[in-house]
Every structure is written in structure tokens, then in C-alpha cells.
Symmetry: D2
Subunit: 389 residues, 4 copies
């Protein structure tokens, strides 16, 4: 089987030449002074992207490691959590919270929409015992964004900690950890930063550290321990276990690229790519899954699979006939959507045209009523407008 | 600060050009058919190196993840464990077992020696309630090997499960999972396989799977869950979370190199490199830490730091004056030993000469009574003998 | 200035990951047995692509080196050459022949057309003294192909040697050195083979070797000497000068990719990409430069720049607004055409769509009357037809 | 056959990771603005290493291309040349001059020694018609250096042009084009700069340009033409033919490394490595070929093969038993010497120890009376002295 020419997925995504060069560079000894300094510098660069002056822990496993570590750090059977559910990932996180024995107040909205901050406020008032609010910024399966800019301050005003999943949004949408009062903010390098999946990037507020220290059940001497990183690395300068050297090298290169281009420019690039893709899809007769432009994500566009089309057949056609890999769905959305990613390189140049054209053409190949020309021309026009701005 | 010319450490170690090329190759989408097949193939290749027909789980985090997952999978407060301690790592593992609430029978030998199988047999007889035996094959800080070839069958005969840490020995010493009855055997790619540290390679016996299924406290829906990998990946063909694509590509390339050269040849290469290094050191007036040739490891040589020499100063001199990075010690051995690694590339050609010469010369620079010429000539002669065999 | 996302040029072109990995692999000593064997193997692989059983010389400089060496090898002031001119490159080659003092019979056709074999036959009859026929297979500036399949045998029947420039066509169009009787056939790796420009690939017939041996003025002990390569390398196994190791590694990888995919499949891929691009351009209201489908090249499409459009402005817009680098013109065609390459990767997947869309959209941006939707839809439909065939 | 672990040759040599990353980076279109600027920047960086304010031409072929181009540019049958012969390369250059029809006054000294400037002065006085002096700075086969610092000014005082071969010395020994009045100074990237062999680096003085313009036979519209580069590239901003993009990227990275470390530090590093190697060889009972420390080169050490030892057998033993590739001899020195290179990486850290130890050990294996311990210890002591200075 031939490798695809284009990887336009919801992550992992294609890395830039500079990131690939970093990943392919010689593996350094973790205690060599050069790597020690590089690890510290990478933490600082990630913090800049998180827009935080606080600590950033680089846990050495995929982003769910950081999310699990955050939950274990502060959630016990005595905790009441408000879990905001607008998609598959937040639903799963609720299960995790319940497995920890917590009382979970769950607020669910349709999976193509976003949580309304007014509802959050009302819920916090109605449930004064809530001490943890869990929210997913970008529901990657749905391609939708929640207004964490408003939810964060509401939770803090209420005295609750916020565990925020920004795995796919960091670098593609505005994320302001300090300004918005997000206590645990967890991301990964394999989305808009466009490096490897092997790390959890965890911004931890001072309040969050205090809460973990106050929790005797918070993991220690464990792969799931954030406190170990504070004790061993931040205080004693040794790693709690061997870090994933190569992943760190790749992450640093990815951060350098983002910071050199400028974080705001990078975010605007992702937003424009997604906007052009949605416009092109609609012009071609294909509907984005997100209920409105307002809730649509910038890192990925979920597309409603038309009736009568098999989504797996659609994806294989897009891949094998046109050389473009896109993502399928997850959880309850399986069969309902396919997804074009706009992460990293995929948000540059004419990549959105490639994704939109391939999907619309393949839908036409499978018998759907589409207009390929309109899809392509509209996508291009939207990209042209951006580029000439 | 200038990068060192030679990385002769106890891991992470320098990777081969082929492994680096794999690490620097484009990041693949984890659900692309090509990556799915590659992941499966990599599991099979690791199984070959473990010499097992059973399952191999590739957990997506450094080797301690696999060790913690194994312990959590079968150890509860009702468990009695026999922990065989011959060094820093096994001592730490005992703490982990105790934190899980287990009753731990600990048998400790001096950290420059190995466990005697006769003692293991006596202990198993004396403690019939022991259901888990924990043993570290190579105590990397000490540069010593335990006789797991004999300990494994003893434990099985007794009806106990074996959790075996072969992190640094796999690929450098003989490891036979099935033949020796090792139920959990945990390794990592960053040692003798010479790839990245970001993965746990876990061989799991059928008995081990059964024991975890029988344990209601075994982790599920957790980063620490082996059962998740069985359910999601082995049974449903989906990853429990996004795998570390790049680390998997590197691991596959590393396995290919080992299997193409031949596992026995690779092991012999490591053994010969270590033997030459020890001979050279002794000839130069420097003592390996291991009490005898019999217990000395093939992946790393720990060297006793002579009285009056500061080990950190020694390592910095070796690095900054001669361009060679070696490893310091860990735990109780800090200050007592430095270590030259023989893992991967470092076991080929004249790398042992480079390591031995640099350390002996630097010891001389610091005032120790050494014979650099004898050290070099003896190392070379030993390497020559091997190469011409 | 930001690097372009897409390089869709007439060469040098983007290389595949495999070729790039070869180029980035460690430089080998040219007399190491491994490199010696690799060099020989690469010669044989290039010969397969040339479809010749005869010798292939890998001269260590860009393709014009091989063309100059061929001319110097057999052309003297006593020679009468028939130079077939259908574009810029053949015109330049005529100048080269005249500088050597040769009598040059020049047959020129319009630069958007091809030479008619019937005219060649008539000219050979009219000029019986012609002993060398020079022809360019693909006039890269024009994007046109000459019928060397017929011209070669005509020349041979007449007793004349053929110097054939297949620099940009090899790998993208059918080239059959032995079957068509091409005495010197010169190509380069930087076109359809998609590696570096630093080598001349020269197929030399037995007749050609004899003619050079018979020519006392043929270069010897010179960078321009083909005979040196025969004497030193073929007969004595030593290089006449240090070969460009890295370029050879890249070329071998490029040949491996072509031969593994299958030469005929690779050629069909280039032909289909170019056909789709031409169809799309025409549908969008833009004209290919080539006068007809029959003479149009498969490796590159030259596009007539509409009146009132500045070609340099057009290319800079395509690059800076859309991230796509295309080629400008050369010689007499400067200002009249721009060019989209279909070489190597650019002939796969949706790359032709990217090129066509970018150029048509940019022409529209500059005020030309174009139909972007029709251009995109037609290109896609043509690519779909191919892919589903 | 297994690839060697160490390439310690007289060129091509192993490149650094940074140079390899540049070589493996995507091939850029030669007329993309980014490459055009990069090409110009590379010229300027090479000029810094040549210590010239004058022009540097990057010819796109191995260094002999530049040497041939220089000779063709100013030497005609009317020219009288003084050719200073101290080794194989200068002897070959004399043949080249004679083939051009020049009158050649040849001054030959033993191939393990250097030319005496006093003799040059006497010859110039005795042959007032000499208008070109040809000299090789480092005779790579011999591992010897000529005093071009004095020969250059002598020639200029006499009114003669100097063609100087600094192929292997540039970056490893002091070369000052402007200060020493060297009119044509030719080098290559594959020696002390440690990149690919595919380029000629040619420093051309104003006097040299004038002389070529004044010579109607100087090549034009030829691969051998320096004037083409001046006309096309320097004056019109276009390449006379497609440049070797990848080689240029590698060269720029190599120059960056040299200039960032500091040219004087780089030269000192090469000198020290060679001095340590010679000391070690002598201590081990093996003789450098160079007659004295004063004439010994810093980029390569030629070693006299002891009586009764077959040099090819020696090299194959060094390679196959110890994993170290060294160079054989050329021309008249074949069978008499083998060579350890100290170029680039090979001049850092303990590489000289590796080379010396491997050769001395292998000589011992073949029955020569050597002292491996003394060789190693002395090399190390010399390196230690340098590093601690």
C-alpha cells in the first residue's frame, strides 16, 4: 500500500521539515548539560504558548496522561465536579471522574454546539458544592469550540478549580491560561503544534499545586504523578524517570516555529484555513457538522456524511484515489462525520483546497449531489482574501 | 557548550543512522492502514527479541510505566511478594510494592553482586504465601546481572508470578521469556536496542493476563492499564489513546537492525565489548564495580571511583576535555561509581577503547595512579581477539 | 521570506522522503567497498531506466556537462551536424556545435511545435555529409516533445550519430536508448527522477565509444572527458576524480523508487498529471503553450501568459499569496510563458490541482478572465478518471 | 558488508549532523528567492574562510574542475609555467599544463618534503619568462605542506600569477588568499570543511579575471568556464546552468559551523589532531611519511608502511576487524603509505586515538614490531595537553 501524499487529519499530523530534522537528530543523554538546558527551555517555550507565567510540566506520555494526572491530583470521592459535555471527549472525561468516586453534575448540550456560559453560571449557583469544573476547549470529534474564555473566570469566581482540555486547540485558537484562570490546562504536541503525540503539556496553576499537596491521595512515585515532577525536576533537577528525549527535541522545534512566526499569526492562520474550508464545503453542497460559524473549531472541520454514504468507504476513496488521508469519527459520532484537519502545515497555503476538493469530489464519486467547482473556487477565494489581506 | 563527540552512557544512548532516519521520517496518522500494520509488525518483532510466542504490549511511555502497570495489574494489599534486591532499581521496586499495600519479603545482597538462586528457592519454601517474585535482570546502576534464567523457573515451580525488569539487558544479554517462565517482562528501546526512551515494551504471559482479569483493582480506562491495550487494541483494533508514532517508527527500525544482524550476534557483541572494557580498566589500574566477571553486565560497566576523586568532576573532565559523555550513578551508588555504556553502537568497533581510554586518562589527569597505555593496549587486544575470532 | 509550501517547478524539484533520507545519510568514502558497489549498482539502475544494455556514465556535474562532453567527444571542425531546433535548448546547442567549428545544418520549427520526422528524413537525404544529428526530446521551456522514437532510427539508417537531450523527459516519457538507436543520451536526476541536479547521466552506445576513440581531439584527462571514465572507472576501477557521493546516494534512491513502482507506471503517472493540468487550464480559460495535445510534454506544462499580465508578477503572486513555486521561462520565451512542473512527487495525488488552481486563481487576481471553478473541477475530474481506471 | 563505524579518510569524510541535516533538507528551486540569497550568502562565507575580499566562484563539480578551469583560463601555448612538484598532485598538474601546450619549468623535491622558497626565488630569477606559478599547498597523498605564505608573494613580486591548490588544506591550515597574493585558489567542501565533494570553491583575484578576459581562448559557454559565472551569475543574476542545490546547502552549513567555532580555532584543532597522531605513531614504532614536523600536514597523516606489510591488506584489516576506514595512497606512493585523515569531525575529541590505535594494532596483527600501549598513551597525552590548554 502506498503512503498517502497528504495527511490532513485531526492528529497526529504531518510535521514540518524543521521538526522532522529535530526528531531525526541524534538522541542526547538526558543528563547531559545540553539536554538539561534544552528541556528547561522547552518548558518555557510551551509556557509562552499557554500564555502563562506559571509552571508547565512536560509529562512523558500522550495528552490523556496529563488529563488523568490532573483528575487524580485533585478529585477524590469527596469532590463534586461540574462536567460540561458538548462532545465525545467531555463525555468520556465524566466517566473518568465517576470512576474516581466523585459526584458529577453533568451538563450536556448537543454535540454540534457549545456550552453557554450563562448555563454554567446558573449551574454553579445551583450547585455551590462544585469544586472542580471540567471542560474541553475543542471537541475534536465534533470540530466545535467551547467558550473557555468566559467559563474559566466564572469557575474561579465561584472558587472552583478548572481542568481544561486544550489538546487540539492550543496553537490553533486563543488559549490564555493565566488570564482565564485555568488551573490545569492539558495539551499535546501532535495537534496544532504539529510534532509527536508522545508528550502531555500540562500548565499547572499555583492553586492547583496547593490542591494537590493538600490531597493525600494525589499520586506520588507514579507515572501519573504531577507532584513527582515538581519534587524531582523542579526542586532537585533530576527527572522522575527518563524523559522522551526525541519527543522533547521535536516539541522544542515546533514551539520555535510557532513563536518565530508569532502566536497570533499562527492562530489566525488556523482560523482562516478552517473558515475557508467551511465556506468551500457549503458552496459544494456539503455541510460542516458544527451548528454555526460561531462554534466551529479552527483546528479541524467535521463534515456531516450525507445520507446513503458510508463514511469508511468515503475515507478510503479519498485516500486511495486522491492520496489524501482524513480522519474518521470517534464514539457516538462514528458513521456521522468525517474530518479534515487544519493543524500545522495543513493550515498553510492551499492545503484546505486539497482537503475540500478531495472530499467533495469523492462524495460526488459515491453519488452525492455536489458541486466540485463551486467548492474549489469558494475555498480558493476565501484563501485568496486572507492571503491578500 | 559544545555537544559531545561520543555518547557512551547507560541510556538513553546514541541511535544508528537507520533508527535516526526512521525517527525523522514523516509522522504518520495512527489510523492510516500503513501505520496500523507497522504497529502490529513492531509488536511481533519485539516479541522475537523477547523470544516469546505470547503477547507484547507497547505501552506509550518510558519503561517505568510498564513496571508500574505490571505491579498494579496483579499486586493488591492481599499479595505477598518476594522482592530480590541487588541494587538501586530493585530496592525502589520494593517501595512501589509496599505502597500498593502488599506484604513484601525482601532479600537483599550487596549491590556489586547477584542473587543466588539457591537463596531464592529457600525463600520460596520458607514463604509459601509468596505469589509474586520481582527481580531486576540487569541492575543498571551497578552493572550487574541476576540469574533470571534460573529464578524464573523456580518461581513458576512455586506457583508465583514473575515481574522481571529487563530494561537495560534486552538485546545485550540472553532473555528468554517463554523458556524461563517470565510473566511480565518489561524493557525499553533506549538501551541495547538504541532507540528512544518513550516506550515500555511489556511481554505478558497468558497467566499474567488471567491474573489481571481476576483482579478487580487492575487499572482500566487508565494510562496505567495493560488490560485497556488488550481490549482496545488486540480485540477491537483501536488504540486506547494516540500512540507515539515516531517512537514506534524508531523502535521498528531498531528491531530490524537487531534481527537482521541476528539476536545472538548482537548479544555476543555487547558481551565482548563489556569484557574488553573490564579487562582494559583493570590493566589500567581501575576497578569495575561488579564483584566478579560472572555477575558483570554486558550493557554497562560500572567503575569504582578511586578514593579522593570526585565523580562529578571526573565525568565533566571526560566530557569537556575528551568529548565523551558517560553516566553517573543513581541512588545509593552516587559518588561511588561512574558508568561506561556498551549499548547499541557503543558495543561496536573501537567504542570501548574510546570509553576506557577517556576514563583512565581523566583519572590520571585528576591524580590517580593509572596506566593509560596498558588500559588501551589491553582493551584493543581484547577487541582484536573477538574481531578475529 | 517564508519557504513555499509547494515546489511545482520545471526542475530542480522536490524530492521524496526516501531520496532526502539518502541525501542526508552519512557521506561515504568513495573507495570504501560499500560505495564502490553502490556506484556500480546505480549505473545499472540508470541503465534500466534508459532501457539500455550499453554503458551509462555518471558524470559528476549538471546535465549540460554530459551534453558538452558528448559534443566534444565526436564533433570537430570536420563534422557536419543536423541540429533540430524546436525550442530554446536546441537553439543553444546549435551555438555550442558552431563554437566547436562544426558545419551546422539547422532545421527550426515554431517553439510550440515538434519536429516532423519526414522533414528529418528529407534533410538527411539532402545533406548526405551529416554525421551527427542533435535533438532535444523535451524542450523544457516550451513543454513540448519531439518524436525521437522515429528520429533516432532515421539517423541511424543514414549512418549518423545521435546526440539526444532527454534531461527532463527521462522517467516522465518513454525513452528507449537501444531500441531507438540513440548514441549519446543525456539526462539528469533533478527532473522526473526527482533527486539533485549535480550529475549527468550519459548513455553511450558502442558506436559512440568507437567514434570518441577515433577522435584524437576528444577530451582526455579533463572534467569533460567521457573517455576518462571508461579508462579509469570501467577498466581500472578507480574514479577519474572524486565522485559526488551524496548525489550518487540520492540518485540510487530515486532509481529504486522508479523501478519499484515500475517504469511504465511512473511514465503513465506523469502523462496523466500533465493531461489533467492541460484540461483544467483550458477549462479555466487559460491556454497551454504547446500547439496540440500530441506535442505536449508530460513533465512540464508551459502556459501562455495572457496579454496584459506580467509573468514575473504572476509567479510572485502564485508564490507569495498561495505558497506555490512555479517556473518562469528561458531564452526567447521569457515573458511569454510560465510553467507548472509535473516531475516526481508533483505528478502524484492532487498536486496538479494545486498548480492549476493557484495559477488560474492568481491570473484572476490580476484581472484575467478565468473560471477557477471550471479549472479545478476539470482537473479533478481528469485525475479522478485516471485514479479510478 | 557492514558499514564502517569510523571514516578517518583523506576525503570524502564524515559530515557533521548539521551538515547532514542540510543535505537531507528539501531540494529548493534554484531560482526561488530563498535559494538565490542562500547561494550568495554561501559565496560570502567561503570568501571569509579564504580570507579574501575578492570573488569566489562556486563551480558545480569536484575541485579538479576548478583547477582545470583556472589553467584553461590563463594558460596557453604561449605561457611559461613554473610548476612546483612535491608530490603526486603537483606532478599531475604539470601534465595538465603541458597538455595545454605551455612551456613548463618543473622543480621537483622529494615527495616527503616541501619546496624551499629560496629555490622558487632562484627559479623565478633564472626564468624571467615565467608568468604562472603552480603550487599545491597540501600534497594530500604525502601529507605534506608547502610554504605558500612565502611562495605567493615571491610570485607576485615577479609578476607571475599563482594557481594554488588548497583543496585539502582549506579549513585545516592557514590560507590567506589576499594577503599572500594567490590569484586562483581552489578548494573543495569534502576535506576540512567536511561536506560533499560536488563543488569547486575558486577564489579569483582581480588580476586573474583580467588575465582571463585578455585570453581569447579562455572557455566561454562551457562547463569549464569561470568567465560564464562572472557574466551570468555576478552580472545578470542567473546561473550559467542549474546549480547543485543540495551541495550548496551542505556547504553553507559547513561554513556556518567553521565560522561559528572560529576559523583560527578550527585550524588549531586540525593541527593539534595531526600532531597528536604523529606523536602517537612514532611512540608506537610507526613512522609518518613526512620528513619532518615542519612539513607535515594538519589535515592528513601519511604513514610509511613497514617493509613486508601489504598496504591493501593493512587497510582491509583496519576496516573489517576494527571498523575504521582509512585511505590508501595515490600515484607513485601506492604501496608505500596509508593515510589517517584528521578532517572535520575526525580532528575532534578522541578520533585521532581511534585512528592511531587501529593502525598500530593492525600492524601488530600483521607481524610488525609495534607498541600499541605507547601509541595510545602518547596520542592521548598529546590530546589531553591540547584540550587542557
Amino acid at each position: 500500500m502506498r503512503a498517502p501524499a497528504f495527511t490532513l487529519t485531526a492528529g497526529p499530523v504531518a510535521a514540518s521539515p524543521r521538526v522532522l530534522a529535530a526528531l531525526g537528530s541524534q538522541i542526547e543523554y538526558d543528563y547531559d548539560p545540553i539536554f538539561l538546558e534544552r528541556f528547561r527551555a522547552t518548558q518555557r517555550k510551551v509556557a509562552q504558548i499557554f500564555r502563562t507565567e506559571g509552571d508547565v510540566v512536560l509529562m512523558q506520555g500522550e495528552a490523556v496522561l496529563g488529563l488523568e494526572a490532573a483528575a487524580l491530583g485533585i478529585v477524590t470521592p469527596a469532590t463534586t465536579c461540574l462536567n460540561l459535555v458538548s462532545g465525545v471527549y467531555s463525555k468520556w472525561f465524566g466517566e473518568r471522574l465517576r470512576r474516581l468516586g466523585a459526584t458529577v453534575v453533568e451538563h450536556e448540550v448537543p454535540f454540534n454546539s457549545a456550552v453557554d456560559p450563562a448555563d454554567v453560571e446558573a449551574l454553579l449557583v445551583a450547585h455551590p458544592q462544585v469544586s472542580v469544573v471540567a471542560v474541553v476547549h475543542c471537541e475534536t470529534p465534533s470540530g466545535t469550540l467551547n467558550p473557555i474564555r468566559e467559563i474559566g473566570p466564572l469557575a474561579r469566581a465561584h472558587g472552583a478549580m478548572v481542568i481544561c482540555d486544550v489538546v487540539s486547540s492550543l496553537g490553533g485558537s486563543d488559549v490564555r491560561v493565566d488570564e482565564w484562570g485555568l488551573d490545569f490546562c492539558v495539551s499535546g504536541p501532535q495537534k496544532c503544534l504539529a510534532s509527536t503525540p508522545g508528550l502531555s503539556l500540562v500548565a499547572v496553576s499555583d492553586r492547583a499545586w496547593e490542591a494537590m499537596h493538600a490531597n493525600p491521595a494525589a499520586p506520588r512515585r507514579s507515572y501519573l504523578s504531577l507532584l513527582d515532577w515538581q519534587t524531582a525536576w523542579e526542586q532537585e533537577g533530576r527527572f522522575p524517570y527518563t524523559p522522551s528525549v526525541t519527543d522533547v527535541l521535536g516539541l522544542e522545534a515546533a514551539c520555535d516555529e510557532v513563536l518565530e512566526e508569532g502566536l497570533e499569526a499562527v492562530i489566525a492562520r488556523h482560523e482562516n484555513a478552517a473558515r475557508a474550508a467551511r465556506a468551500g464545503l457549503r458552496a459544494g453542497g456539503v455541510e460542516p457538522w458544527a451548528a454555526s460559524e460561531e462554534v466551529a473549531a479552527s483546528c479541524v472541520t467535521s463534515i456531516t456524511v450525507p445520507d446513503g454514504i458510508d463514511e469508511a468507504e468515503l475515507r478510503m476513496l479519498v485516500r486511495n484515489r486522491y492520496g489524501v488521508v482524513i480522519s474518521g469519527a470517534q464514539g457516538e459520532l462514528v458513521g456521522k462525520v468525517v474530518r479534515i484537519g487544519h493543524m500545522g502545515i495543513a493550515s498553510t497555503s492551499l492545503y484546505p483546497l486539497v482537503g475540500v476538493s478531495a472530499v467533495v469530489q469523492a462524495l460526488g464519486d459515491l453519488g452525492a449531489a455536489v458541486d466540485v467547482g463551486a467548492a474549489s473556487a469558494t475555498t480558493l477565494a476565501a484563501l485568496a482574501e486572507r492571503a491578500s489581506a
